[in-house]
Symmetry: C2
Subunit: 331 residues, 2 copies
Amino acid sequence: MKRVTIHDVAKEAGVSVTTVSRVLNDRGYISTEMKEKVLKAIKELNYIPNEMARSFFSNQSKFIALIVPTTENPFFGELTFRIEKALAKFGYHLFICNSLNDPENEEKYLRLLNEKRVDGIIVGSHNVDISEYKNYENQIVSIERKLTENIPMIQSDDYNGGVLATRELISQGCSNILCVIGDKNVETPANDRSLGYISEMEKNNLKPRFIEIPFQIGYEEKYKIIKDTFQTKFNFDGVFAGDDVNAKLFMNVAKEMNYDIPEDIKIVGFDGTQTMRSLVPELSTVVQPIEQLANEAVKILLDLLQGKKVKKESTLPVELYLSRTTNRIKN
Amino acid sequence: MKRVTIHDVAKEAGVSVTTVSRVLNDRGYISTEMKEKVLKAIKELNYIPNEMARSFFSNQSKFIALIVPTTENPFFGELTFRIEKALAKFGYHLFICNSLNDPENEEKYLRLLNEKRVDGIIVGSHNVDISEYKNYENQIVSIERKLTENIPMIQSDDYNGGVLATRELISQGCSNILCVIGDKNVETPANDRSLGYISEMEKNNLKPRFIEIPFQIGYEEKYKIIKDTFQTKFNFDGVFAGDDVNAKLFMNVAKEMNYDIPEDIKIVGFDGTQTMRSLVPELSTVVQPIEQLANEAVKILLDLLQGKKVKKESTLPVELYLSRTTNRIKN
DNA sequence: TTTCATATGTCAACCGGATGACATAAATTT
DNA sequence: AAATTTATGTCATCCGGTTGACATATGAAA
C-alpha cells in the first residue's frame, strides 16, 4: 500500500496542498472552518507527515548526536539518559555514538555533521586529536572537555571537587593521600580535580602523590594497576579516586588484601551517579550535577544552533556526599 | 558560504551530474579515467553528499531506534553499547529512546517509524500496552519481551538461568529461597526465570516463595521493599534476585542488618554485565550473553527490513558465574 | 469610495541527489 | 559488416513537503 501524502489529504479535503501545509504549519490566514475540514481529512486518511522530507527541505534533522566513550560506564549511561530527556523537551532526538576513545571512530561521527544527518553534537568523549573540531565550532558543545577556544564547554566544578574530597580525607586523619588521575596527555577539566587536590595537600604541608589510570582501559586492566599499587607501594591511608569506578575497585582490592576501610584506608570517589550511590552507598564521593550538566549542555547547544551568543564556559557546583569510606556512619 | 552539491562537482570535473552520481554509487559504465577526474573534483571541493537528501530519495534513514527503560541501568547501558557497535558494522546508526516505561512515551517513539525518521526499532522496554505494535510488525524486533505473535523476539535462556541459580543455592545448603520477580502483570520472558526457579524448588521438595519488585521503580523504593522484606518476614537463607541491581541491594541491606553473606544468606543475581562483574565481583550471578543478544537482534532486524524470512524466537544460552555470595571463594 | 486586513486558491520553484529513457560514439565480438 | 558491449552525456522526473508570488474575494475601517 502506498504512503498517504499531503496531496492525498488535499484531495480528500477538497483544498490545495498549500492550504493543508498552512494548517500543518500554522502559517498565513486560515479560517477555523477550513482548518477543521483539513484536520478531518488528515484524521480520516491517518496521514502522518514524512519527517524526512521536512528535514530535507528545512535542512534540519532535529537530531543531536552525543559522543561518549561508552554507555557501559555508569556516568555516561546516566548522562545519556539525562540528555535524551532534555532534548526531548525541545523536539530533538538523541543519537548515540560510543567512541571507545578511538580517534578514528570519533572522526567518523563528526562526519555525520557534514552529511547533514545531525544538527549538532555534544561531545563527552576523552579523545586526543582535536584539530578536526575546528571546522564545526558553531554546532558543538562539550561536556567536561576542552576542545577548541570557541567550542562552549560545560563542566562541573572539578577543582572544588578535588578540594572538598581532599579536605574530607585530611579532616578524617589521612596524611598519605593518593590521587588517581586519568591520562596525563589528555587535557580534560577532570584534571582540575587533581589541581584542587594538590592545592589542598600543599596547604596542609602534605606531599601530593599520583597514580595514573587511563580512563579508556578496561576494568580488568584498571584492577591490575590498582592491585599493583597496593603490592608495590603501599603506604597510603587515603585515596581520592578520580571517579567512582576506580573508587570501588580500590575498595575491592583493599578488601581482598585485608585492609579495612575506613580503618586503614579512606576513600573518596567522584561522579555520584544514582546507580553508584544506590549500589555502593558506603562510598563517600563528590557528586556531579549530572542532570544540570545535561540541561545546560542542551540549552547552550540549541542556542548555538540558533545563532545566539552563548557562554563559552559554564561551571556547575558539586556536592560532597559523605559515607562510610571516610568514616561517616550511614544508617 | 554555500554548501557544495553534486552539481558543483559536476561543473568542476566538467562532466554531468549523472556521471558523478554514477561514480558515487558505482552504477553503470565508468572508465577509470573518468572516475579519477570526478574523485579529484570531489576531493578538491571537499564535497560530502547530503545524506538527508539521499535518505529522502531512497526512503531509508539508516537509523534504528532502541527503546529501553533507561540507560541508567547497567544492563541497558551495556546493551545499548553493544547494539550501537553491531549496527555500525552495517552502516546503521543508533537512536536512543528512554521510555521510562511510560506507555505514552513509548507510543511517541513508535510514531518515529511512521514519520520515516527510523527504519526499524529494537524494543527492550517493559511496557504494558502492546496493541500499538501490531501496525509495525515488519520493522520491529524485541529483546526479552513478548510483543505480538509476529514480532521476532531475542532472549536469553531465562528458564535455564532460573534453574541454574536455584540449583546453585540449593547445592550450597539453602532451603528457604526467596525469588524476586518483576511486575506480575507484565508478561516478559524474564518471568521464565521464576519458572525455572519453581521447577527446581519443587524437584527438591522446597516451597517457592516470591517477592515482587517492579523493574521500573527507583532505587530508593526497591531498597525500601527489600528492607521491609528483611524486617517483616526474615526466614530465608537464599535469594534468587532476578537481576544484579536487586542482588546488590539485598547484599547492602543484609550487611546493614548484620547478616553475613554467604554465612546467613546466599545470593544469586542475574545479568552479569561487565560493570557489575567488575565492581561487585563477589556476586554470584547468571550471565546473560549481552553481546550475542545485541548481535542477533541486529541481524534479525536487518534481515526483516530486507523482507527476508526470520526466526520468530531466538534463545541464547546463559552461564553461571560463581563467587562469594554463594560461598565460592574468588581469588 | 477607497483602503486594508482577512481568507482562500493556484502555480511553480526548490531542497540535493537518484534514476530511467534515450542518444551517440568508440571499441570489441561475432 | 553487423551486432554487441562499454563509455559518456543530456534531459526530465521524482521523492514529499515548504514557500513565495500572485490572483481574487470578502467585510470592515478610514
